[in-house]
Symmetry: C2
Subunit: 189 residues, 2 copies
């Protein structure tokens, strides 16, 4: 990577080895506070978050149980689970909000930056049952569950099973910038 | 705001008064480089960006002309316009990617953090013609244009028309955290 970018962006990654060290309430609050200040179309602020702490909330197990087995295996050790949701209709006119997911993604971008700055790790999962989450967490129809996230401190990769340990070692990869950024439009032809 | 959050999150906002000072190419690159490192479902990296510089690219006018008049009025002064897009089908199996917009939002979250850190301002707009953008910028069917963004340095609010000057003065507002974050699920009943 030649182009210099912020450490909190460059060093963020999604581990599977979480420590069971709890996350201080104030620190957790700062993550959601950061999310709150994202921009959104018509300032709708469509993002919502449901969270639960492993040691304190019965909802933690409910959230954990929505995960596919491959995620359940490692996410059970994280001290906090959170679910991102989008309100998919505008409040002001009841019509579908085409950027609800996009705006919620920007809010989560803020959350990730804040978390990384606080020394925390966040691993988001789309491998969970949205239907079961809706039922277990009383999610009204106008909200769509998007991603379940494990939040906590880094643990010890040695405690992982063989498959997860291999996964943890893999370096992050991204497409080259030329495949993502186009000056003046998509290439002709 | 009692909870302490990162300055680059707290101080980001979307002005309408842009300076015509150009953005250095390396600095602009760092914004896209930051976007590149966002997480995404199955590491699909569905985000794409098209950009143009006012002084150098004929596409700048094409992009500007997709804007609704209320945006055109102020965005014409920004030195850079960029369009965020999402590839809405998975590359690996051709099926719809339900988190394409969300993941693209996270990439833009990174871009905004990097831009704010570099002293730049970004103002995103959903008020543009996606249809005209598709035509003018050769956007293939599998990509959806999401937000047009003006990127540049802060200008002088005194140069704005009366309506825009009033708009520029309004403080940012957000819903209270209690309306956005739910511990253990949505409230019963």
């Amino acid at each position: 990577m030649e182009t210099k970018i912020l450490d909190i962006v460059a060093k963020r990654w999604s581990p599977v080895a979480f420590s069971d060290k709890p996350v201080n309430e104030k620190i957790l609050e700062s993550l959601f506070e950061a999310a709150r200040w994202a921009p959104s179309a018509f300032n709708e602020q469509p993002w919502r978050f449901i969270y639960a702490r492993r040691e304190k909330d019965t909802a933690f197990k409910k959230m954990l149980d929505t995960l596919v087995p491959g995620n359940h295996e490692w996410a059970q050790h994280a001290p906090v689970l959170a679910l991102s949701l989008a309100r998919v209709f505008f409040t002001y006119n009841g019509k579908p909000n085409p950027t609800a997911y996009y705006d919620t993604g920007m809010a989560v971008g803020n959350l990730l930056a804040q978390a990384t700055y606080m020394g925390l790790f966040v691993h988001q999962m789309s491998g969970f049952s949205a239907e079961n989450a809706r039922e277990a967490l009383r999610i009204p129809d106008e909200y769509e569950p998007i991603a379940m996230m494990a939040i906590g401190y880094y643990g010890n990769a040695k405690t992982l099973s063989g498959t997860l340990r291999e996964r943890e070692k893999k370096p992050r990869t991204r497409k080259p910038i030329e495949a993502l950024i186009f000056r003046g439009g998509f290439p002709a032809g």
